[in-house]
């Protein structure tokens, strides 16, 4: 059996050393080693986007990323969004104000996708918001509130 590989990377602006088995998923390493349980496992097949994190500014489904792939990369998870650890990100605040979160399983992925969208397109129209969040599924079907939340975040 192959041994664990040592992986050096930056997670939420902090240097981190991870140990991963062959084909171990980034999602599992983040949740079980670093205890960053904000990223959720939904489908485990890259369909729902609940496990979305950013790797070097690109949004990815962490359930479909081998942990060894993040060697030397910078990873941002939902835990790293709040400024100074206590002031919520504008998107997080907007989700609270607009009721964008229902059961909460999809919320971390939705927020990461929204933040990624706003980094690329600071003032998106409704169509761009829908496109930006197309990779994230909400089983509560509360999409309208989520779109409103992203639009509210743009105004902040």
């Amino acid at each position: 059996m192959a041994a664990q590989a040592q992986i050096q990377c930056v997670v939420n602006s902090e240097p981190a050393t991870l140990y991963a088995y062959p084909m171990e998923r980034l999602l599992d390493v983040l949740r079980e080693q670093l205890r960053l349980t904000g990223s959720k496992e939904g489908c485990g097949e890259g369909e729902c986007g609940a496990c979305s994190v950013m790797i070097d500014g690109q949004i990815v489904n962490s359930c479909l990323v081998p942990a060894v792939q993040v060697e030397g990369c910078s990873i941002k998870t939902i835990e790293g969004l709040a400024l100074d650890g206590h002031q919520l990100h504008d998107v997080q605040q907007a989700f609270i104000e607009c009721g964008g979160a229902q059961c909460g399983i999809c919320t971390p992925g939705m927020i990461m996708a929204a933040v990624n969208l706003l980094e690329k397109t600071p003032n998106p129209n409704e169509s761009e918001i829908r496109d930006g969040l197309a990779g994230n599924l909400c089983r509560c079907t509360g999409y309208m509130k989520i779109f409103e939340s992203v639009a509210r975040a743009c105004q902040k």
């Binding site: 192959a2 992986i7 050096q8 062959p22 084909m23 097949e45 890259g46 479909l64 060894v68 060697e71």
Partner: protein, 87 residues
Amino acid sequence: MPLHRLHEDFRIGGARVSEIAGLSYVGPLRMSQIDMSAAAITARLKLVSQLRRLCLSLGTAKVDPRPLETNENVKNKGQQKLKKESK
């Protein structure tokens, strides 16, 4: 690290990627013969997800206490039935 860099000579933490990727079991096969495309790795990770889910469900599954019907049991029962009939 882009997936196309996952080739034989690339090392992470002193270990060859071929070892990290769990490919040591392929023996004489060369890395070039293994499909390391993004699609292949995605397919493998989907299997990892399914296997993990299966293991978790087995871990919490309730086991039926009744003994399983093995081939040996079935055979013995058949022989007993034949003996009764012959008597």
